[in-house]
Amino acid sequence: MSTMSYVEIIKKNRELKNKLASEDYTVGVLTNITNHFLKDILEYSLRLSAINAIVEIGGYDNIVQDADRFQKKSSLIIVFWELINFMQGLHRLRPALINDYEAVKADMVHQIDLLMDLLKNTPLIIFNRFTNVAMSMANPVLGLLDKLAADLNKYMDSCNYRNVYFVDLPGIFLKDGIGLCLDWRNYYRNKSLYTLCFYKTYCDTIINAIRAANGQSKKMLILDCDNTLWDGIVDENGIDGIDLSADTANGAIFSEVRSMIKELAHCGILIALCSKNNSDDIDKILTQHPGIILSNNDIVIKMINWDDKVTNIKLIAETISIGLDSMVFIDDSAFEVEHVRGLLPEVNSFKVPDNLYDYPALLREISGMFYTAAQTTEDLSKQTMYRQQFRRESSKREFDSLDDYLASLDIQLFCYDNDLNIVTRLSQLSQKTNQFNLTTRRYTERQIENFITDAKYDVLAYRVKDKFGDNGITAMVILQYDLQSFTAIIDSFTMSCRIIGRNIEFSIVDHLIWRIKDKNIDQIEAVYIPTQKNVSVKHFYDKCSFQLLDSYSDAEKRYVMHIDNYSFKNATNNVMYANERDN
């Protein structure tokens, strides 16, 4: 974004607006300064990610009132609450702080509570942490404003909001230089505090959080080995000829890179290797070399062979069942990077920088693409689960038929019945699942909580275990009941891609029917809403022998089924409830 001129951004933004067909993503900006540069820059950076943003800047210094207005319609709310314009200006704030610091603070805390309560159902809030950096005094004794900023931030941290992404503005000032970020000329005349340069960097900073909220965060990092993980080429220099120490200049750079990759793996990002090499050599390095830092446990899948990388990356996507657009690829060879960019444009491909010292900074930047709002147990054990998936795929080849194979897996399903303890995971399933997602309705934790506590809804989650291990909570169905018409409606049906292909979805439908039979329900309604990614489930309800209602458009497919007509795939209901029997 920072390389494009403002005029270019405005122009391209208008062009994109007319091209994008996706649903509007409404963004409200609450502010006590003037932020009008933000609109085009933010809209454009989101539209580049196919998020059809409509940004509305709230009235000047009208934060709480606008919050009430915006919260009804906005998917995202951004808050610019600047200390410099508290109480309409420092000329009031400073004397008030001198006079009674605690009273000012208490008043602010009260306003924060008011605001955050109004926004409690907003899917995502981007909140700029309070900061005094722009007006801090050269004399450190004069630090009342610094103290206020620190105290308010501490207070907000203690509230543990689940829908807030905090932004550190000083981090942005550091990137561009504070002189290029602040616009004192426009501030005193128009209350416009920040420059174009600031807003461009600001949008680059927040985009990952917004992409994550739209199910677009990256899941897998695929790395070449030679000159990408270490200095040197194994096939030419031998195992002893590559540099895995941290003592040389280049060695220090690669060691830092490997340590970052280890941290990414630790946080649940899937790490894959894709390298033209002899797999024995790479195995030896991973298991025996003292300086490697990474181990086989950090790596989900290795494609170490002499095939081309495009084929290998496609194979990785197939084996692990993740979309190409969830992948990031790094290689030191311009040829390989261009090859992948050309044939697999969905994969974000990066070349190791020519100036090697820029490599760690590049990886730090890339790490943002893997951002997800909340981490769950499933995230942390993802590496293990995907390694099990790799073993499952390998053992599949030993069976004559898929059915035989599935039977051999000894799959067990455990149902979590309206369980408030797993709301974070459920919201994540709703936000992140793209392929097996019949309606792609995205719900926040708060919305899931509301469904769970509402008697008209059932939120059923499923944990899947088999002989290779525990896949964790990987499927969710939200049912809505209309008792007057004796109907259950499938509002959402999502399943993580890591359990696709095991006929689990059919066992879940069996379970749903067993369950609603007890509730005096006659029929079940369902809808398939197509997206670019859920084509694979287009015929799912047909396969479950639901009856297609032809009165609706081609795009959306609506179904109904009288439950007496349903033929169960499994003779008995073998789903166990997690609260009765688990682990």
């Binding site: 001129s5 005029v7 122009k11 009008h36 005349r189 128009n190 174009l196």
Partner: protein, 79 residues
């Protein structure tokens, strides 16, 4: 330079190029309000790599005046 100025105005104000001339100003164009004026100034500063004084920003109220001010900064006479 005049063409560039007009193009910037045309994009920021969302007004077709052919409707702009030397005398287009805050008086003749409804869209040229104070918020858009701020955007125009920022876009011009970015494009020409100049920084206007506050007084200049207040005076640059027409295509002609913008051209004059920028040419002073770039020390070249207006076309």
């Amino acid at each position: 330079m005049k063409e560039i100025i007009k193009e910037i105005l045309s994009v920021v104000l969302d007004v077709p190029m052919h409707e702009l001339d030397d005398f287009s100003s805050t008086q003749t164009l409804e869209q040229w309000d104070s918020l858009n004026h701020m955007k125009i100034i920022a876009a011009l500063e970015e494009h020409f790599s100049v920084s206007f004084t506050e007084q200049e920003t207040l005076e640059m109220q027409s295509v002609k005046l913008i051209e004059y001010t920028i040419s002073c900064h770039l020390s070249c006479p207006p076309e």
